[in-house]
């Protein structure tokens, strides 16, 4: 029901008394309202800002959060108030809606934030009053356009193709996004070059060249070098036809492609040549054939694939179709009016050029656009007066729709700029987000290495446990449960790819042997790599490396520490419990520092973070044990 009707309900019910004498049946029992009827002041605390209002005010809109029993979920018994952990500034507007019945949109707020608040409080945005509705709708449309561009940029063909893409898909992608592969880029530039060559040839062949030997008349270059020009033309047309056919083949939807503007332009560009081939060389049709050559100039429109500005212009004209239509219509009206007036004004003049009204059209157009060729000039005084009025009004009529077209162009142009900027920034944003996410996963992997698996037994773990929040504990426990369920373990990208590589290099023998023979199997490139990393580690904070020993112990309980071969790497790993006085701050520092540099480049410059995965990789990658739980990778 509409707003504010709740207030009038008692009156409507009272007025029902008027039906009673007429009633032929007994009236139903009225609903019993157990709650107290007296009005009371409610306290609403929104993030510390305390609002007070009558209960009746909130009850006016029973289908919102505040008007229904849903607000009881937010009731705080101790402070006897309703507490909402939301934006207090926005709540002001929400409460005003309850008070006045009109919802206003605050202009300085972000539209999405406002909509989220409305959704939370159960108010539909359509209730926004007329005073603010237009602003709201404009902002909303702008926001939607922006978001649509974001998703479009994500879905743009910059993403790598799925591996099972057919030749058609690859070809289509090469055509649509030339910067994806070198071949596509080459093709793009070659076609552009040939379009330019074709257009220039069309232009140059009409320029007069020096005449042939023995004749005086100037010849257009086209006729002098007719063979050369026709060869050039044929070559260009062949290339364009090939391109068109390839595009037609590669298009995912041939019907849509055939109907698109660009394909129409392509066809119109090459058609005259083929028509010229088919048509016979007789005199009657050659006139028509000549006009067909005019269409060759349409090849210049093919440049719109190469130029974004042209496309924007085309878009603008499309968007401003109504304004252009209005401009045309008003011009036509004015032209007819003034042409008629001038014709009749100049009718008396002898030898006048204004021979008919259509003839005066030319004068009117030339005057209104302030060209003023001067081939038709009024002589009589009345004619001159009306001619001056004509030129003045021409300026006005043309100046009116032009700002609309200009503003549309500016809007579309800015949208395009924004889309390009978004796309460029998107990559950086995604990279940063990925790194932040990696920090979270690394935290879990880190936690495993610290011996979180052990439970709370040793003192050392107790140190580290303190530094993690309850949320992290629960999260890690959850991940462990998942590992146990699936019999697989979490790892990070690098080790996984290493493992894959190692698998493909055929080091399966090392995995199947038991631990004691691992020694021999450790002469793998991986362990060589591990040695390299261990050397690097020795230079870095040793306490960190020592800490990781414990998890080795936990996981490889049955294994005797191996390591005469690479004392440098193993000795540090074999350090025992005396080194377990973990410096927990190192860990937390390491966890925090992970997001900043990517863990993929374990260089000397980053002692802390990559060291941890490095050394762990070191330990695990050389030791496989299929008897225990299958490890996807050593980490």
């Amino acid at each position: 029901m509409a707003a504010g009707v709740a207030t009038w309900m008692p009156f409507a019910r009272a007025a029902a008394v008027g039906w009673l004498p007429l009633a032929q049946q007994t009236m139903p029992k009225p609903p019993v309202d157990k709650t107290s009827r007296s009005d009371e002041i409610l306290f609403v605390n929104v993030s510390g800002l305390r609002f007070q209002t009558w209960k009746n005010t909130l009850d006016r809109y029973p289908d919102t959060l505040l008007g229904s029993s849903e607000k009881e979920f937010f009731y705080n018994e101790e402070t006897q108030e309703y507490f909402f952990d939301r934006d207090p500034e926005m709540f002001r507007h929400i409460l005003n809606f309850f008070r006045t019945g009109k919802l206003h949109y605050p202009r300085h707020e972000c539209i999405q934030a406002f909509e989220e608040e409305l959704a939370f409080y159960g108010i539909i945005p359509e209730i926004i009053g007329d005073c603010c509705m237009e602003e709201y709708r404009d902002r909303k449309k702008e926001n939607q356009e922006r978001l649509a561009e974001d998703t479009e940029a994500e879905n743009a063909g910059d993403a790598p193709l799925p591996p099972d893409a057919t030749l058609r898909d690859k070809l289509w992608r090469a055509f649509e996004n030339p910067h994806t592969s070198t071949m596509a880029l080459v093709f793009y530039y070659v076609t552009g070059f040939f379009i330019a060559v074709s257009v220039i040839a069309n232009v140059v062949e009409t320029v007069p060249c020096r005449p042939l030997k023995g004749s005086i008349k100037d010849l257009p270059c086209g006729e002098k070098f007719s063979v050369a020009f026709s060869c050039l033309d044929t070559a260009c047309v062949l290339i364009f036809s090939c391109e068109y056919l390839m595009r037609l083949y590669a298009a995912p939807s041939r019907c849509d492609f055939a109907r698109s503007v660009m394909s129409v332009i392509d066809v119109v560009a090459i058609l005259p040549f083929y028509i010229g081939l088919i048509m016979p060389e007789n005199e009657e049709v050659s006139g028509a054939f000549v006009t067909l050559r005019v269409f060759r100039v349409f090849r210049i429109f093919k440049f719109s694939r190469h130029s974004q500005g042209l496309r924007i212009l085309g878009c603008t004209l499309q968007a401003c179709a109504s304004e252009l239509g209005f401009l045309l219509f008003s011009l036509t009206m004015a032209v007819i009016i003034f042409a008629t007036v001038m014709f009749y004004a100049e009718k008396g003049t002898k030898g006048t050029t204004f021979s008919s009204i259509p003839a005066s059209f030319w004068y009117t157009i030339v005057t209104m656009t302030t060209l003023g060729y001067g081939d038709m000039v009024p002589d009589s005084i009345a004619g001159k007066i009306f001619g001056s009025i004509c030129s003045l009004s021409g300026v006005l009529v043309i100046a009116l729709p032009v700002p609309v077209i200009v503003s549309n162009f500016a809007r579309i142009y800015h949208q395009n700029q924004r889309a390009d900027k978004m796309r460029a920034q998107q990559k950086v944003r995604q990279a940063r987000i990925r790194m932040a996410k990696k920090g979270a996963t690394n935290a879990f992997l880190q936690h495993k290495e610290d011996g979180g698996l052990q439970g709370g037994d040793s003192d050392s773990t107790a140190f580290c446990v303190k530094n993690r929040s309850a949320f992290e504990h629960q999260h890690h426990h959850l991940l462990q449960c998942l590992e146990k369920t699936t019999n697989h373990e979490f790892t990070d990208e690098v080790t996984y790819s290493e493992v894959c590589m190692m698998d493909s290099m055929g080091f399966r023998t090392s995995r199947s042997t038991s631990l004691s023979s691992q020694q021999g199997a450790t002469t793998t490139c991986c362990s060589r790599r591990a040695k390299r990393r261990a050397i690097r580690l020795a230079n870095s904070t040793v306490s960190v490396s020592r800490g990781s020993v414990q998890e080795l112990d936990t996981l490889h309980v049955t294994k005797t520490p191996v390591g005469t071969q690479y004392p440098q790497s193993r000795s540090s790993l074999n350090a025992r419990t005396e080194d377990l006085k973990l410096n927990c701050t190192d860990y937390t520092a390491a966890i925090i520092s992970i997001p900043t540099p990517p863990a993929n480049s374990p260089d000397e410059s980053l002692p802390n973070s990559p060291a941890i995965p490095g050394i762990l990789r070191n330990s695990r990658s050389s030791i496989y044990n299929t008897q225990e739980t299958v490890k996807i990778s050593s980490l």
Binding site: M1, A2, G4, V5, T7, W8, M9, P10, F11, A12, R13, A14, A15, A16, V17, G18, W19, L20, P21, L22, A23, Q24, Q25, T26, M27, K29, P30, V32, D33, R37, S38, D39, W54, N56, R99, T100, G101
Partner: protein, 219 residues
């Protein structure tokens, strides 16, 4: 050109006479829009009606929120009432109801009139309620309800039902209803119902008596 001459002449003439009425008209409109009626004191209203102070406060707050100017005119009244009956057309019945509320026939209902009627309907005695209802039915306030008036009222009530009813409304349903009513109420069969006949007949009918008590707890 003609327009230019016209404006010039208009400016010279009638600077005095022509302008003043229009200015007055503007002032009148301006006054009407800012006039707002304030009800008499809370104590006085409490004495005149059967409501307590808190109830009056609640009622006035709701009333003032909906009508900041303090008066309800007929169009607003019809709009408000129509919102309770979206199925059919409540405007005719709302018109009769408006006249019943607007006892002074001023064209607008002020808070006092609103409150008095509510007090009668919800907290008044049986006789008061029935008198109010009689006044509702007696459209021309001549003290008698005749068949035409009753038919108007009943048709207005059936209009509120709308088109889609079960069983479907027939064209003579209101007439039948009116006949049944007169059968019950018109004791001396003179074709009109007087106030006494009305009250007497209603008091004899148990259903009506019982229903009259139903609306006690509306506020």
């Amino acid at each position: 050109m003609g327009a230019v001459v016209g404006t010039l002449t208009m400016g010279e003439r009638t600077k005095g006479e022509r302008r003043r009425p229009s200015r007055d008209k503007i002032d009148d409109d301006f006054e009407l829009s800012i006039v707002c009626h304030r009800p008499e004191g809370l104590d006085k209203l409490e004495a005149q009606t059967n409501f307590s102070k808190q109830e009056l406060q609640v009622l006035y707050r709701g009333f003032k929120n909906e009508c900041p100017s303090g008066v309800v005119n007929e169009d607003t009244f019809k709009q408000i009432y129509a919102q309770f009956f979206p199925h059919g057309d409540a405007s005719t019945y709302a018109h009769y109801l408006f006249n019943a509320f607007d006892s002074a026939h001023s064209g607008s209902i002020k808070f006092e009139g609103f409150i008095m009627a509510l007090s009668t309907l919800l907290r008044g005695s049986v006789r008061e309620k029935l008198t109010w209802t009689f006044n509702l039915y007696d459209i021309n306030r001549d003290g008698y309800i005749n068949k035409e008036e009753m038919t108007d009222i009943v048709s207005a009530i059936y209009d509120m039902m709308g088109k889609y009813t079960y069983p479907a409304l027939k064209t003579d349903t209101p007439k039948q209803h009116v006949d049944a009513f007169f059968q019950k109420m018109d004791k001396n069969r003179d074709g009109v119902v007087t106030l006494d006949e009305f009250i007497l007949s209603c008091q004899e009918d148990e259903n009506i008596m019982r229903s009259l008590q139903l609306f006690k707890n509306v506020i």
